[in-house]
Each structure stands twice: as structure tokens, then as C-alpha cells.
Symmetry: C2
Subunit: 241 residues, 2 copies
DNA sequence: TAGCACCTATAGCAACGCTATATGAAGTGC
DNA sequence: GCACTTCATATAGCGTTGCTATAGGTGCTA
């Protein structure tokens, strides 16, 4: 099979890279393999994508579209925290369905250089968590919650990918998922206010904060709003005891 | 600087690889760099370590000794769950102190091939969680808890490594850590028995299970013990509702 | 027809992981 | 003292990698 059709070389390169990546079985994919499958020579690749990583980034971007589409399709259920669960599961499933692509996206960590896609995924989850915050269901700032949940989500997915497919136990995922969501949710047993349950004023502050930032309210001047948000922020972060 | 001293070439190779890995700043480390710094030619490397990955594995093994030493030094505080917290923090700190080494150890994920070190780290954490289970402080099986906590621990550490050093916020770590530990611990607010709080009989069963496996009790025959453990296991996993 | 972007191909560089082969050193039996 | 095996290191080079200096072709506007 090859992509020698009438498609433009750029598209052929993208498809060839995606296909080789998906079927490489963990082995490295070389530019020569890609260009040969695409029916193109090396300089074409570097003309369109700069370097190998640029091509992979483009493949990743396409993969991320798919990922985001999956995340958004399941979104509006009315119960934000339930949507977060589905986002989590969709994330894991995406990783297990296309492990090579996932590893390029989330597994290629290098010091001090954050993959752009991580920020995108965080933003996506934060957006969802904001709805939970507005509904008063969140215990911590949406951004912190998103970072924390996504970190655990990536860790679990990487672990599952590394396991032999026959031994994969999705209970690891559901257990970690519920632990993280429960930890950031406001409806914990409110019987022990000193340890883990935050007081309702904190929850209210977080909800108000999220609502304010979402609505771009004009009822306060910008300087007033700034100070107000700073107070809220202080309250929200106070009882970390 | 070079390692041309009177040390044997094998040692010089290990030290050269470790040093280059620590100072590479994320860039790849080549065998030629290593052999040159060690004052040795290529075949010597392959004679002693088989291939590049073999050498890295050896470096990782040495790094893991250090990691384990750090984990064990802080261990016996009498409060197992507090020890788990310290294990978590030590894990993160190890990753941030030696990011390159950590990435070779935990970041080099490939499908269906689990790094041996992950299993070791899991065993280490499971061992610690067993103490918590014996003390009746655990909500789930120690093995499942260990896998879950370690997955989150690795995910958080990778995220922190990927961030610019100036932006690193350790709150991500402590927050995720406490979420995970709280989720597996038995002393959650027992006011809501239907949702997250497990009934005390389950906690007792898990504690008993851990105690039995630790003590190699002779008061039951092996077949009796086997059946008994099976029942315990069934009870422990029952109320996942 | 001339000029000008844009795109692609030829050919090849430097660096990579790794190895076939040979040489030196150290111990062992006679 | 001498052949013999064994282990450890070196010389030289193979095949592949990511990437590029240079040049040629194509289609557009003038």
C-alpha cells in the first residue's frame, strides 16, 4: 500500500506518518520509511514540516482533534463531575486504542520542555471543571484540579499502555479516577470539617470565582473586580491546613 | 574531566554514562560520547553491557539503589500512611533532582514492555501499604492501592519535570498525593456508608488478609488457608458498587 | 517571453548504534 | 619455559539515521 494517489504530498506525508506510527509496534519510525511510503523524497518532508518532530507534531495535532472530538461528544450530561469521569475514560481509551500516537503526544517528556498538547488537554479539562465549580461542586480551584487530574490520568494511561494487553486491568483506571474526582469534589462527607472536608464558604467562594470569570460581569469596576478576585483567591486557598 | 584513572573500564563506563546522562539537559547521549569520556573504545562497551540499553539499565539499577535507599531511610515512623506520603515526596524529589535519570527509568514507556523498575517500585510501595493494611487503615487491596498511587505519582513527577523549573508548583504533588492516599485509607468520614466509605467489615477483611499473608500462619492447613483467603478476597472486592 | 515564487529531486554529509576481526594480557597444565 | 585457553580491548568499517546544499521543474503574473 502506498499513498501515490492524486493527494498533495503534504497530505500523503501526514497519512504515511500516521499509519507507520500506528503500526510500528513500538519501534522507531524513520523519515526514510515515511517518505518512501508517501512516494516522496526527503527534502519535501523538510520543506513542509521543518523537521521530523514538526511532522510528528502535525500528526499529533490531527490526533488531538480526534481526541478533543471524543471528549466533547460526551460532554453535556448536566452532571459536570460525571462528564469529567467520561473525559477520563475517553482519555484512557484513546491511549489504549492508539498507543504509539499517545506516546508521541503524552509520553515524549523532556525536562523543561512541555508538550503543547499537555496545555491543551489541561485547558479542556479545566473548562469542564469550571462548570462543576459554578455549580458549587468543586473543592479546589478548577485549574489546580485539572492539572492534578490530568497528571493522574496520564500516569495511569502510560502504566496501562506499558502492560501486556492481556494483563490490562481497567480497575486501576476507574479506581484512580474516582479517587481524584472525589478528592476535588465538594460533596464529601461533611462530618469532618477539620481534615478533608472544606467549609462551605470555601466551596461558595470557588463557585463564585468561577462564575465571575465566566460571565465577565460588568457590575464591578475592573480594579474592584481585581481586588475582589484576589480576596476570593485567598479564601479559596486558605484552608489547605 | 575524564575517568582515565586506575578504575576498571566497566566502572568508568558506568560513571561516564551517569554523568553524561545527568548533564545532558534532555539531549540524547551517544555511545561515542560515553566511550570517549570513559577513555575506552566502542567494543568495550558492548562486551560488558551488550548494547546501549544494557548500559543504561545498569546505570538505572545503580540509580534505583539510591532511590530505594531514600525510600527506606524514611520508612519506620509508626504511621504507615505517613510513610507513604514520604515515599511519594521522595519519589517526586528524586525525579526533580535527576530528571534525565528519572526519564530513563520511568519515562521511557513503550507498548507492552514494562520497565522492570516499575515492578520494583510497585513492590516497594505495596510492602509499605501492607503495614497500613495490617493496621486496618486500608480501604482496598494493597497491591491495587500501590499500583494506583504509583501511577499517579509517576504522572505527577513527569508533569513537574516537563515544566520549566521556575514554574514548578509542588502543590500539584501534595494535592494529588493526599487525594490518592485519602482515597485508599479507611479512616474516611464514615457518615456516608453508601457512597465512598467502605463498611468496617471490608476494612477488617483487608487487614486480616494482609496480616495472614505476612505472618505465614500455620494455624490453618494450606488448603484451608487458600479457601479462606479466597473468601476474604471476595469480601474485600465486594462493595465496589 | 521573462521573471518569480513555489515545490520537488539528486546527491551526500556527519553522526548514530553496532560488529567482524585481530591483538594483547593473564592465567593454567606440562 | 612453552603451548593453550580465556578474557578484555583496539582497529576499522558497515548500514542506517536525521538532515541539507544545490539545482531543476512547474505554474503564475506581467
Amino acid at each position: 500500500m502506498s499513498f501515490d494517489g492524486q493527494l498533495p504530498p503534504k497530505t500523503r506525508l501526514l497519512r504515511a506518518a500516521a499509519e507507520l506510527l500506528a503500526n510500528s509496534g513500538g519501534a522507531a519510525v524513520s523519515t526514510r520509511q515515511i517518505t518512501q511510503l508517501a512516494g516522496v523524497t526527503a527534502p519535501t518532508l523538510y520543506h513542509h514540516f521543518g523537521d521530523k518532530e514538526g511532522l510528528f507534531d502535525a500528526v499529533v495535532a490531527a490526533g488531538f482533534e480526534e481526541y478533543v472530538a471524543g471528549e466533547r461528544d460526551f460532554a453535556p450530561s448536566g452532571h459536570p463531575l460525571e462528564d469529567i469521569r467520561r473525559m477520563w475514560d475517553n482519555h484512557v481509551q484513546f491511549g489504549l486504542n492508539q498507543p504509539e500516537l499517545y506516546l508521541v503526544m503524552f509520553g515524549n517528556i523532556r525536562p523543561e520542555s512541555r508538550p503543547a498538547i499537555v496545555a491543551d488537554a489541561e485547558a479542556l479539562m479545566e473548562e469542564m471543571l469550571n462548570k462543576a465549580a459554578v455549580a458549587g461542586q468543586l473543592n479546589v480551584q478548577p485549574r489546580e484540579a485539572a492539572r492534578s487530574i490530568l497528571a493522574a490520568n496520564v500516569g495511569v494511561t502510560l502504566m496501562l499502555i506499558a502492560e501486556p494487553a492481556t494483563e490490562r486491568n481497567l480497575e486501576l483506571s476507574t479506581m484512580t479516577r474516582d479517587a481524584m474526582i472525589f478528592a476535588v469534589s465538594a460533596d464529601q462527607a461533611s462530618g469532618t470539617p477539620e481534615d478533608s472536608g472544606k467549609s462551605s464558604v470555601v466551596v461558595a467562594a470557588i463557585a463564585l470565582n468561577a462564575a465571575l470569570q465566566a460571565s465577565h460581569s460588568d457590575q464591578l469596576s475592573s480594579s474592584e473586580l481585581k481586588l475582589f478576585l484576589e480576596w476570593l483567591h485567598r479564601i479559596s486557598n486558605s484552608s489547605t491546613s
